[in-house]
Structures are given as C-alpha cells and as structure tokens.
Symmetry: C2
Subunit: 202 residues, 2 copies
DNA sequence: ATACATTCTGAGCTTCTGCTCATATTTGGG
DNA sequence: CCCAAATATGAGCAGAAGCTCAGAATGTAT
C-alpha cells in the first residue's frame, strides 16, 4: 500500500480578504441551511449565496462536510462561551443562580434552536456528536458548581443531577416555542430544577 | 397550466406476500439507517438489504422519503400506543404514577433512542415534525392526567407543566446512556418530576 | 514598475442517485 | 390446469451533486 497522501490539506487564509471569505462561506451555509434545509444546501448554492465561486470554497474546506463542521464548531463554542460568561457568582443561592443562568442563555440567542434543529440533518449525526462532547464539559462544570453549594442541596449524586439538568434543558430548549418563554416559561423551568435540587418550597 | 396528474398513486398491497414485502422494505430501511447512516441509505442499498429489487420499492412507496416517512410513523405510533398501554390507574398518586410510566417506557425498547437519533437525519426535519405532532397529543393527555390529580399538585399552569415534563423527558431519553438507567437513572428522573409537581419530600 | 504570492473563477468532469418501464414470475379463483 | 391480476425484476436513463484545475484577478513587497 502506497504511503497514501494522508490529507489534501487546504490553503490557510493568510490575508484578511481570505479570512473574510471563510466567514462569508460559513454564514452562507448557515443561511441556506436555515432557509432552505440541508437537502438544498449544495456547494453550488452556498457559493452562490456567499457571492463566491465554488472553487473558492474548496480553497478553505476539504469537502462539503467540513463547511458544516466549521459551522457546528462555531455554534457549539459560542454556547460554551455564553455559559462561562453568564456563569453566576458562587455566593448567590443555587435557586437564583440557575434562574439567572437559564434566562440569560435563553435571551442571548432566541433564534438559535431553529438553527440547531436544522443542524441535526447534517450527515453522520455530526451535530449530535459535537453537542455530546460539549455536554460532557458542561455537565462537569455544573457538577462542580453544584458541589460548591452542596449544603443547600437535597440531591446526593451530583453527577447524575448535573446530567439530568443539562439533558432536560436541552430537550426543553429544542422544543419550546417563543410563546412558552413569553408566558413564564423560563420561571417554570427554573422551578423544575430548584425544586429538584433544594428542599425549599420555591 | 395543465391539470397536473395530482399523484402517481402507488399500488396498494392486496395479497399477504405484498404486505410482507412492505414490511421487509421498512425494516431494511431501519436497518441500513441504523448501521450505515442516512447518507448510505440509498434506495438501491435498501433494496439490496431487503432482498428485493428497486422496482419493488416503487410499487409501494411514491419516493424515497415515503419509505422513511412510513418508518417514522410506525415508530411514533408505537410510542403513543406504548403510552396508553402503560397508562397508570388514576387512583395511584402522581408520584408513583410518573415513576411507573417512565420506567415502563424506558424498559420497553432500550435501543429506540439510537434509532431516533439516526432518524433526525431524514430530510426536511420530517422526524422532528412528526414527533412534534405526537408531542401535542401526549402533552394534552398528560395535562388531563395531571388535572385529575390537581389536589396533590403544587403547580398551577398544568399545560406548561405537562409540556415541561414531556420535553425534558425527551431530552433525557435522547441523550442518556444505558449505564445511566442502570444506576438509579430512572428514579432520579422520577424525582425530578415529582418534586416539581408535588410538595412531598420524596 | 516588476515580480511573485495569494486569492478567486466557473465550465465541466466524474460519479452516483432516485426512479422508470418493459418484461418476467407468481398467485389464486374458476 | 388456465389465465388474468398481482407482484417482482433490474438494466439503464435523466439529472444533479461534489469537486477539480487551468488560468484570470488581485494583493504585497521591493
């Protein structure tokens, strides 16, 4: 078996123009995915919407999947950063802390779930895989956060509690309508978790 | 504009042999989807796995999407039926009722979430759409169930509570590992909901 | 101004997909 | 056993997708 030229290895953007182009392509991919669905998100269509030729795409992305992988990474990283930025002071009680955390995430990018639902159609379950990776980190972070409040909590297995909270939040976030949040939805979710965690009659 | 022959309209299975063929095709689609992913689930591959020729597929399905639509319908209907069968006696307290409901669903088809995750890749978000429809029914059903136990509950907005519970369950079900259930996972989820719903210190 | 590197172009090649249809096979009632 | 209806076959077509590459355009440095 010949040494097999492991990877074609695309050009890396060196000038500003090029970096801008990469951004434009990624945004176009997001736009087409959101408005027309994955099935219509062909490389030619993405190039067209980006105002760029197909060839240009392949200067920076090894193949079509790589475009969406980049998009997915950006979205997931954005969410992680949002979490650490909204991360509440350890001094405040868990009940309030969770409420703050949830509503700040919800308000930050209300249109995000729509994009996420579209991203589920990317081949190989790439979105789910990347989200699962990130969830590992988030669960870890939440477990540690909970452990600093151990005295206030009635739950024993903090790892399990952290997973339950994160997975449940995902389920709600992916399926809630905007109206849900307009009518006390966020408070209801906060209640779900604080009642689970603490003995208070909140 | 010409009258446009509205629908090709496929043959309907009349003999048993034909009904068996339809089943074989649907099962093959599920099998390929699960083992090889949607990207490799071509009509030719499905036919091959089904031990049937491509032409046969198109005797019973208008197009490729219809195969997966049928598969999705079967799965979603199965879940709904599971729910009504496991539906607990209204006499038992909510806390116990929810626990029974959850664990019976979890135990019924432990491998289901893997298939569901694969079904998310079906074009047009068909799976999500069908699940969303079914969720409407389930939320309604749960709201009514809760309302028969109104006295035991601390929640006010039963509609919102029902949605929160169903959506959260989905999130947990789609992402939990088998180990999670082996280690008290189901009990933990039941605790999440009963603490949310009732004032008891369960 | 010149030279070289970087970036962009887009017609078109290759590959593969969904699907058809003329034909063959099987079924079951009379 | 016969034959019309039902079912199954599969080579191959139409079309579209991902991707390439030879060259044009643009940027940077001297």
């Amino acid at each position: 078996m010949p040494p097999k030229t492991v990877k074609p290895a695309r050009r890396r953007a060196k000038q500003q123009r090029a970096r801008a182009t990469v951004d434009v392509i990624r945004e176009a991919a997001a736009h087409v995915l959101l408005r027309e669905g994955y099935a219509r998100a062909t490389t030619n269509r993405i190039a067209e919407v980006a105002g760029v030729s197909v060839g240009t795409i392949y200067q920076y992305f090894n193949n079509k999947d790589a475009i969406f992988d980049a998009l997915i990474r950006r979205e997931v990283d954005g969410l992680k950063q949002l979490l650490v930025k909204a991360s509440p002071d350890p001094a405040v009680p868990v009940a309030d802390a969770l409420g703050i955390l949830l509503s700040s995430i919800i308000r930050a990018r209300p249109e995000a779930p729509t994009l996420y639902r579209a991203l589920e159609q990317v081949p190989n379950g790439l979105f789910r895989r990347r989200v699962a990776e990130a969830r590992g980190n988030v669960v870890e972070w939440l477990r540690d956060f909970l452990s600093t409040h151990r005295r206030e909590l009635r739950v024993r297995d903090l790892e399990a509690a952290a997973f339950v909270i994160v997975a449940a939040s995902e389920g709600i976030a992916m399926n809630a309508s905007p109206e849900f949040y307009r009518n006390r939805g966020a408070e209801e979710v906060a209640a779900l978790f604080t009642r689970y965690l603490t003995a208070g009659s909140a």
